[in-house]
């Protein structure tokens, strides 16, 4: 009897400890597991080239732009051997939080700072008396990916997509889908819509597109669908669409090409269907309205633009730094790196990485914004 009693008590204690440690390791994993893949470059500060600052630049945030930043980090550290750039791709929210807590010199974010976040920056005195600014750096295109047996190309209007994500269109042979695809043989298969379960710039921009042209709920980084299944990260969305018959989802263009998934042509403001190419996306991004307020530079896509070579489901990710009140020793580093990544040389590499280069007008706006950082 004695053994049995101790056994059960021990069991309880261990079970409690397991539950506790489960919570503990979650916290640890989220903050520590995504160590930067970008710090591989040499950090020896032996020779410093002219016009190169030296030191360590710390940044954190968006996973969507991580591939671009890691390529640029390699190039920039090659040019300026005295610089080490640490980009911790731990998610936009975590990146902004690290920025506010002064753990990062700038943050990569999939969306411009919200008013609440801007308020946190001010109340924490992160930028002294100044405020944080957004600088658009990495644009991209959103692919509407699908897995329908026997169908490789589809026309999906914003209205139909909104219907799918609202739950009003539930099968692939729905009359509304048929109307846009008269030649396709659509099966009587259930549609399984997928979305991001985490907050994301892809979700924000895709819902903005659906909202503007399909009458969907307002744009939101937490995708506003009550019927879609959420999975974490674009790669998981792509994986799910690939493995699920009848699935539809959205992800950055590079995920669609990497996983060789079929992606749809989506409708623009005039109801015409536009093919997804990087060139078409660049045409649409070039028409975005640039709002500049001091150094703060925001892009607003013009969803009314209806040229036949402009793909309307696009996104842009930002870097967030202090407009004024940057740390004096870090300022040359911040300016140097941001200047480099908005340069035409760096932007030229985006195409091969699956993104879309900044149109020259926006790159010019960025350059003035970065020059005025202090």
């Amino acid at each position: 009897m004695k053994f049995q009693r101790y056994g059960s008590v021990a069991g309880i204690a261990v079970a409690a400890a397991l539950a506790l440690s489960a919570c503990g390791s979650d916290n640890g994993a989220s903050t520590a597991s995504t160590t930067p893949a970008s710090s591989a470059g040499g950090s020896s500060a032996s020779s410093t080239a002219a016009a190169c600052p030296s030191g360590t630049l710390k940044a954190a945030g968006s996973t969507a732009q991580a591939n671009a930043i890691s390529q640029w980090t390699k190039d920039y550290q090659g040019q300026c051997t005295g610089v080490t750039v640490d980009y911790n791709a731990n998610g936009s929210g975590a990146g902004v939080t690290s920025f506010i807590q002064k753990a990062a010199d700038f943050a990569g974010s999939d969306y411009a700072l919200s008013t609440t976040q801007a308020g946190q920056v001010t109340s924490a005195g992160r930028c002294g008396t100044g405020s944080a600014v957004d600088i658009p750096v990495v644009p991209g295109a959103i692919a509407v990916i699908f897995n329908v047996p026997g169908v490789t190309s589809l026309n999906l209007s914003a209205k139909v997509l909104a219907g799918i994500y609202n739950g009003t269109i539930t099968t692939w042979n729905d009359a509304q889908i048929k109307a846009d695809n008269p030649s396709a043989t659509l099966p009587a298969l259930k549609i399984q819509p997928f979305m991001r379960s985490d907050t994301s710039g892809t979700s924000y921009n895709f819902s903005a597109y659906l909202n503007a042209l399909g009458g969907f709920s307002a744009a939101n980084k937490q995708f506003p669908s009550k019927v879609a299944q959420g999975v974490k990260g674009s790669s998981a969305v792509a994986a799910k669409v690939k493995s699920t018959s009848g699935a539809i989802g959205y992800a950055e263009y590079s995920y669609a090409t990497q996983d060789s998934l079929s992606y749809a042509e989506v409708s623009n403001a005039s109801g015409a269907f536009v093919q997804l190419t990087q060139a078409n996306a660049a045409n649409f991004i070039a028409k975005a309205k640039v709002t500049q307020n001091g150094s703060d530079t925001k892009l607003a896509f013009d969803y009314t633009y209806a040229a036949s070579d402009a793909y309307p489901a696009t996104l842009v990710t930002y870097e967030i730094a202090c407009g004024t009140g940057n740390d004096a020793t870090q300022l040359p580093l911040i300016k140097g790196f941001l200047n480099y990544i908005t340069s035409s040389a760096a932007q030229g590499e985006l195409t091969s990485l699956g993104y879309v280069p900044l149109p020259s007008s926006i790159a010019a706006a960025d350059a003035t914004a970065i020059a005025s950082l202090s």
């Binding site: 261990v14 397991l18 994993a29 936009s92 975590a94 299944q229």
Partner: protein
């Protein structure tokens, strides 16, 4: 090796241990003081550490719940950073994810525990001792597989094969709302439960094995002497002896299932609100929700996730306590 012969020895130990503390042996040397001091220090340290962690967690959770605009206990939404609320006010509740946590864990235990007990009985009562211990090692190896591997396996392999089983269950039990679907399967709480069952199996099996091994030889032989078959012997001697210990083992497995994070987060797709159809894709658990949301959460979001972690801890405590009561009742009724 019987209990009766063990207990006097234990008593004698206690007497010897009591002597120096009551001061009867006066010459406590330097070694005594050093050892006693460091042992006491370790005990105090762990208590302070636990208290500090608990205070931190409770403080964070209380702050988040204080800002919550809906009822934390009954609300189905999870939006602590106010991403989807009109004025960005935090709205979050534990109900939907606590339900998902319970459902997946219960499925895991219902599927895993019988198999684990079967494995333990087979190893201890049917196999020769040597082969049994080798077999035991193999089962223990299952526990050494990292949970992310189970998650990958569940996502890439198991998920594709769950629709057939799910469809059969729906055909048979579909008249119960719990087992109805909209015609899509996989990535469901049931799939997550199956993965959990495999993950908790080695824990339950290992403990149950050790307990069944301790069954008094006399009782086994007595059962055989009465003409019992092997199954009757197990039912008469082994199972009653191990009942409370094995119940503890199952609780331990249940605790692991409640807290399992990555595997569930990978297998289960998340849908907003309460999911009552366990065969249909979608659902969420507290631990998986923490894993998915933590990276992008802001201050209130993180505090809200900590609050949900505390609820998980509380659930584990309640389950453990309930199980202890059950075991104690069963023990009294049995003796």
């Amino acid at each position: 090796m019987s209990n009766e012969r063990l207990s006097p020895v234990a008593d004698a130990d206690e007497v010897e241990v009591r002597d120096p503390r009551s001061g009867l042996t006066a010459k406590a040397g330097l070694g005594d003081r050093l050892f006693g001091g460091s042992a006491r220090g370790a005990a105090v340290f762990i208590l302070i550490l636990m208290a500090a962690i608990a205070a931190f967690l409770i403080y964070q959770a209380a702050e988040a719940i204080g800002k919550d605009q809906v009822n934390f206990v009954t609300s189905f939404t999870w939006d602590p950073d106010g991403n989807s609320t009109p004025n960005g006010q935090p709205e979050f509740g534990i109900a939907a994810i606590a339900w998902g946590t319970l459902v997946t864990s219960v499925i895991g235990v219902l599927l895993g525990a019988p198999v684990a007990i079967g494995v333990a009985l087979f190893i201890t009562q049917y196999l020769p001792r040597k082969i049994g211990s080798v077999f035991g090692y193999i089962v223990d190896l299952l526990a050494a597989v990292p949970s992310v591997v189970y998650g990958l396996w569940g996502l890439l392999v198991l998920d594709q094969h769950m629709s057939g089983v799910s469809k059969i269950i729906e055909d048979v039990l579909g008249w119960i709302p719990l087992f109805k679907t909209d015609g899509t399967y996989g990535s469901s709480m049931f799939t997550a439960g199956v993965v959990l069952a495999i993950m908790i199996l080695p824990i339950i099996a290992a403990i149950a094995r050790e307990i069944y091994k301790q069954t008094p030889r006399e009782q086994i032989e007595a059962a055989y002497a009465l003409g019992a078959t092997r199954w009757e012997m197990i039912r008469l001697a082994v199972l009653p002896y191990g009942r409370s210990g094995v119940t503890s083992a199952i609780i331990l497995g249940f605790g692991r299932a409640l807290g399992e994070t990555i595997a569930v987060a990978m297998v289960l797709t998340q849908v907003p609100g309460l999911v009552t159809r366990i065969l249909q894709p979608g659902g969420n658990t507290i631990a998986a929700n923490i894993a998915v949301q933590f990276g992008d959460a802001f201050t209130t979001g993180r505090q809200a996730l900590i609050a949900s972690g505390l609820v998980l801890f509380l659930m584990t405590l309640i389950v453990n306590y309930a199980a202890r009561v059950v075991v104690r009742r069963a023990g009294k009724a049995g003796s």
